[in-house]
Symmetry: C2
């Protein structure tokens, strides 16, 4: 079992970086089309390329057999180095633009951020 | 921006492993004490040491300023290599023992699993 970590392939030595994880779970509206949803998925993933404050990013769609997803179908997982970076991301113009694009399609959103503990 | 990945420090070359992420968000009962909660936190983290199916593990407590955590305060994040490993984990005796220990203290639980996409 390894501790999940930011991609360390670019690091030399064994230096440990602290990571602030940003977990966003989403349920889209019934009225949103597959194309609408794909537009939001791509836009969110795109932020990780245009906003350098985002240190790590991944996402995916629910396949849990436990039926505890409370209707939420998507998880987007970003990592930041500091709380300031996370705060700056939240008010970043490109993030605000993304929120404006996504908002009309969001039925439910759950967000938890946490400092990673092993 | 790096893609979040399992700890690759033990790998040679640049081989890419697929990861099935298992996200567990929890709200504890008002009646559960700090000691009760710490017992559950330690037991969950302990599983990642005793159940070898768990490839990556981390956890933490919410510090998001967005107030979108829906009362959920804890995130536990595990990674598996296959859906079979995730399924075997869910019915593993040590996992069942953990659920029995945690259940009396859980008010709300949200679980999403997903294959990691960059």
């Amino acid at each position: 079992m390894n501790t999940l970590s930011p991609d360390v392939s670019g690091q030399s030595g064994g230096s440990q970086q602290k990571t602030l994880r940003h977990v966003v779970l989403v349920k889209f509206k019934e009225t949103s089309s597959k194309a609408d949803i794909e537009k939001v998925e791509k836009a969110f993933a795109g932020l990780s390329k245009t906003i350098s404050l985002i240190k790590t990013f991944e996402w995916g769609t629910n396949n849990s057999p436990e039926n505890l997803n409370q209707g939420l179908t998507h998880c987007f997982l970003a990592g930041f180095s500091t709380e300031k970076d996370r705060d700056d991301y939240l008010v970043h113009p490109l993030h605000k633009e993304f929120v404006a694009l996504a908002q009309p399609h969001l039925d439910k959103v759950t967000v938890i951020d946490y400092w990673v503990k092993p």
